[in-house]
């Protein structure tokens, strides 16, 4: 009997994925441990290793197929001595319990035991604006070809160094008919109708209703990719099911900036002259948020209908905008980690997030989140809570503002932050208490070091 190779679950909650690429052709022999395929979920691309050895008999699910259900038979492996005739009849059906999955993700996310209220894939809220105004890396030739073919570079994924879009990406998009530029209004159109009353998934205006409002030929349609769909679904869910409540405070940053400069200047350097760490303001915000949650543990919670999930550690998700969307890698137990560790973990995960190389356990779960748009000059904004979190902190720009000190006008570097809470789990006063703790750490940053 040929061995059935099943669509693997790359995370405990994965239900389906895209079969991005086969790395083995029919007739090629494989041994256990060989990478045979690449599977793409809505957030990451992962390699699949063979568990058994044999000859690839038949590929049943072609590469590029979307929405392949977990445990579906995707290929048949011939064992030693079997020939192709053994394939007949073996192809049908889902793997079920019989054979068990014959593939394993290249890096088994053993640690990814989902927290109680784990949802499929958290998408951080609040920053879908990131795509616009951000520099897109593309070769001059690719830019010109994109313009000539009416392609939107933002809709393309670059295969060049550091994700640079190059000619072959354009050629691919042209031959596959993807990446067509969309007229700006059309992109904004499919907002859910504000008055939609249905509890579960109310529908906004239909595609036809939206498109009817625009002259034909004045726009082009870009099909949603997995990430876009996830963002849309989860944020809509959040805003419809979570009663949001917002608290804003201003924090003076001068002491923090001074300490940061001092710490960075004191960073030991390695042999090649690189400093061991380089703290950003955001790293310190992450740390402050984690410590605040430690101090106000009632706010470090997740809501379930039956019980309050009180977390023992502050796992802080950090919204990272990447081409085509955003993702929220998580700094686990951030309250216990020195700033340098928080900083280096963020740097590493931020880089891999942009390459879409994060493992599910690196972005699933978390007990709170931070979304920082300060670097884009945003003064203040309110983020959408990302369940299972009960809170999310939206961080504005640090800017010099007039403040009153000792009844006199003075200048201070001030940063406004807005905490969104899930009011079911974190009441207003509790949110205020959490923010006060946060502000305490930001304005007395030395306390973060002890």
């Amino acid at each position: 009997m040929p061995i059935k190779i099943l669509m693997p679950a790359l995370s405990p909650t994965m239900e389906e994925g895209n079969l991005a690429k086969w790395l083995i052709k029919e007739g090629e022999t494989i041994s256990a441990g060989d990478v045979i395929a690449e599977i793409e979920t809505d957030k990451a691309t992962m390699e699949v290793e063979a568990v058994d050895e044999g000859t690839m008999g038949k590929i049943l699910v072609a590469e590029g197929t979307e929405g392949v259900k977990v445990n579906e038979v995707i290929a048949l492996l011939l064992e030693d001595g079997e020939d192709a005739s053994a394939l007949e009849g073996a192809a049908s059906g889902v793997g079920g319990d019989g054979g068990g999955p014959q593939t394993a993700p290249a890096e088994t996310p053993a640690a990814a035991v989902a927290p109680a209220a784990e949802a499929p894939t958290p998408a951080a809220p609040a920053a879908p604006v990131a795509a616009s105004g951000e520099r897109i890396f593309a070769s001059p030739l690719a830019r010109r070809l994109a313009a000539q073919n009416a392609l939107d570079l933002k809709a393309l994924t670059g295969s060049g160094p550091h994700g640079r879009i190059v000619k072959r990406d354009i050629d691919k998009a042209v031959s596959e008919g993807t990446g067509k530029a969309v007229a700006a209004p059309a992109a904004e159109a499919p907002k859910p109708a504000a008055a939609a009353p249905a509890p579960a998934m109310p529908t906004g205006p239909s595609s036809d209703q939206v498109l009817k409002l625009f002259e034909e030929g004045s726009y082009e349609l870009v099909p949603h990719d997995g990430m876009r769909k996830t963002i849309a679904r989860r944020l809509q869910e959040s805003k419809q099911t979570i009663p949001h409540f917002y608290v804003t405070v201003d924090c003076e940053l001068d002491a923090l900036l001074a300490l940061r400069a001092q710490l960075n200047a004191a960073a030991p350097t390695s042999k090649d002259g690189k400093p061991a760490y380089k703290l950003s303001v955001n790293d310190m915000v992450i740390k402050a948020m984690a410590l605040a949650l430690r101090d106000v543990p009632e706010a470090n919670v997740s809501w379930t209908d039956e019980a309050m999930v009180k977390h023992k550690h502050a796992d802080v998700g950090v919204a990272v905008s990447i081409p085509g969307g955003l993702i929220t890698p998580i700094v686990r137990s951030a309250e216990m980690k020195p700033l340098s560790v928080v900083s280096n973990e963020m740097k590493d995960m931020g880089t891999r997030a942009k390459e879409r190389k994060l493992k599910p356990e690196e972005y699933q779960g978390g007990t709170t989140a931070v979304s920082n748009m300060g670097m884009m000059g945003v003064k203040d904004f309110a983020a959408v809570v990302n369940p299972p979190h009960a809170t999310i902190l939206a961080v504005g720009a640090g800017e010099k503002r007039p403040v009153v000190k000792d009844d006199a006008l003075a200048i201070a570097t001030v940063m406004s932050v807005t905490l969104s809470t899930d009011h079911r789990a974190v009441d207003g006063a509790l949110g205020a208490e959490l923010l006060a703790a946060f502000k305490g750490y930001i304005e007395n940053p030395m306390s973060m070091l002890v």
């Binding site: 090629e28 001059p140 030739l141 010109r144 070809l145 295969s159 190059v166 000619k167 190389k357």
Partner: protein
């Protein structure tokens, strides 16, 4: 009997093999390299490098012979001492050969001395070399591993190529030479027939002409350096003929009669006429062929095609765990192609992200005859053949200040753009130092610049490189100094 086991074994230490080994070591793989004769392979010992040393001697001699046009008087006569010219060339090779040994040691790469044979997937045996040694051979490096069985998860064949022989005109090492003998003459031949005008043939023709020999080049194709752009080739031919080379194109050597210390070549031209040319020696430079024999490829059913191992874009053969790179994996048979192919192969093996197959359209080629020729990308003819609507720019050395100051006012730089997209499709050059200029266009092509970025680039004055920009400007009707 336990075999020493590696992550990767590379067979052959030419430029492809040894560079791949270093990259493998950098990636943390336990690496060994097998060599039967000389670290650095043909390139470094009997090819690219020692010929450059010979050609440098030729260039010095040429300059001396034209000293007067620079206002210099040479008392007495400049003459070449063949022994010293060859000795210098061998010394250059020996120095680099030692350099490769050092690099292997520095990167903790085991060198296994001997001839490798694939016994089964993932295993080789290394025995005595079956190839007669070409003298002078450098001493076997210290600390090498010897004959025995070795295993590896990945085996990369990088065995290179050797001179191709035409039936009936097989090199004998005495009267009919390959590059091996042409590289180390005992006495300077007074006359030579060079069969084949590719890079190897034309470089030796150029060298021996500078050394004073009467040289006749016989080429079957309609132009010398057949892979080059026709216009560039024609210009090069004119210069070579001006230097006294005789060139017969669309002609082939049908028969060679050997005398006591001379050969007589029967050369048939397009019109069917046969002429005989008597010369001291004949150099056979009709291409190279992959070293696929004796490796045990047949037993493993490794797919080959026209003397080369068939690979995918990442060096993979049809046999899992077996890879091939460089000359043995197919044309173009160039050292820098082998190096890049090897790096792509090993990075793919190591599982690095974003590894892309080599784009064979962006491999530059350089020929070091006088005048030099260099190119990258499509020739004008090939671009048209591919159905591209093109713009062509040209700029002559005669209009460039630096070229005139150097006394090198013959040559041309030609650029070919796609008319619609501005893609740089090809660049072709003939003239002094162009082998050092071409890389500017290779970088431009690799970064996918269009004519616009090239026009916005500042080229230093006064340099030969200014001609590159002028050529681009010319393609768009904006040439400045012409």
């Amino acid at each position: 009997m336990s075999a020493t086991s590696y992550d990767v074994i590379i067979i052959g230490s030419g430029p492809g093999g040894y560079v791949t080994a270093i990259r493998a070591a950098q990636l943390g793989l336990k690496t060994a390299i097998v060599e039967r004769e000389h670290l650095g392979g043909i390139c470094l010992n009997w090819g690219c490098i020692p010929t450059k040393a010979l050609l440098r001697s030729a260039e010095m001699l040429d300059h001396a012979n034209h000293a007067k046009s620079y206002g210099l008087t040479l008392e007495g006569k400049m003459t070449a001492d063949v022994k010293d010219v060859v000795a210098r060339s061998r010394g250059v090779s020996a120095r680099l050969n030692g350099g490769v040994a050092f690099l292997m040691k520095k990167n903790k790469i085991d060198v296994i001395w001997g001839e490798a044979k694939l016994t089964k997937p993932g295993e080789i045996t290394v025995g005595k070399s079956s190839k007669p040694v070409v003298e002078p051979q450098n001493p076997v490096p210290k600390g090498v591993k010897g004959e025995g069985t070795y295993t590896a998860k990945h085996i990369i064949v990088a065995t290179g190529a050797r001179p191709r022989a035409l039936p009936g005109i097989e090199p004998d090492g005495k009267l009919i030479w390959t590059y091996f003998e042409a590289m180390k003459p005992d006495v300077m031949p007074k006359s030579l027939v060079v069969m084949g005008s590719g890079a190897i043939g034309i470089e030796f023709a150029s060298f021996y002409r500078s050394m004073g020999a009467e040289v006749t080049v016989v080429e079957v194709m309609p132009q010398v350096m057949p892979v080059e752009d026709a216009e560039i080739s024609a210009l090069a031919r004119k210069q070579l003929e001006k230097r006294g080379l005789k060139i017969l194109t669309e002609a082939k050597v049908t028969k060679v009669e050997k005398g006591a210390d001379s050969i007589t070549a029967h050369v048939e031209t397009k019109d069917g006429k046969v002429q005989t040319i008597t010369a001291d020696r004949l150099i056979s430079a009709v291409g190279v062929q992959g070293n696929i024999e004796g490796l045990g490829l047949e037993a493993l059913n490794v797919k080959t095609d026209r003397g080369c191992i068939v690979i995918d874009g990442y060096g993979k053969t049809n046999v899992p765990g077996l890879y091939a790179i460089g000359d043995v994996a197919g044309p173009p048979m160039l050292a820098h192609k082998a190096e890049h192919e090897g790096v792509v192969c090993i990075e793919k093996i190591a599982g690095l992200p974003n590894v892309h197959a080599m784009d064979k359209g962006k491999i530059p080629g350089c020929t070091y005859c006088n005048p030099q020729v260099a190119s990258v990308g499509l020739t004008e003819a090939k671009a048209k053949e591919a159905g591209r609507d093109i713009r062509v720019g040209r700029y002559s050395f005669g209009a460039n200040g630096k070229a005139i100051a150097l006394g090198e006012d013959q040559g041309m730089i030609k650029t070919i753009f796609d008319k619609k997209t501005g893609e740089l499709l090809g660049a072709h050059m003939v003239g002094a130092e162009v082998t050092e200029l071409i890389q500017g266009f290779v970088v431009a092509m690799n970064l996918e610049t269009t004519e616009e970025e090239l026009m916005h680039t500042i080229f230093p004055h006064p340099t030969l490189s200014e001609m590159m920009k002028e050529s681009v400007l010319d393609a768009y009707g904006r040439v400045l100094n012409a």
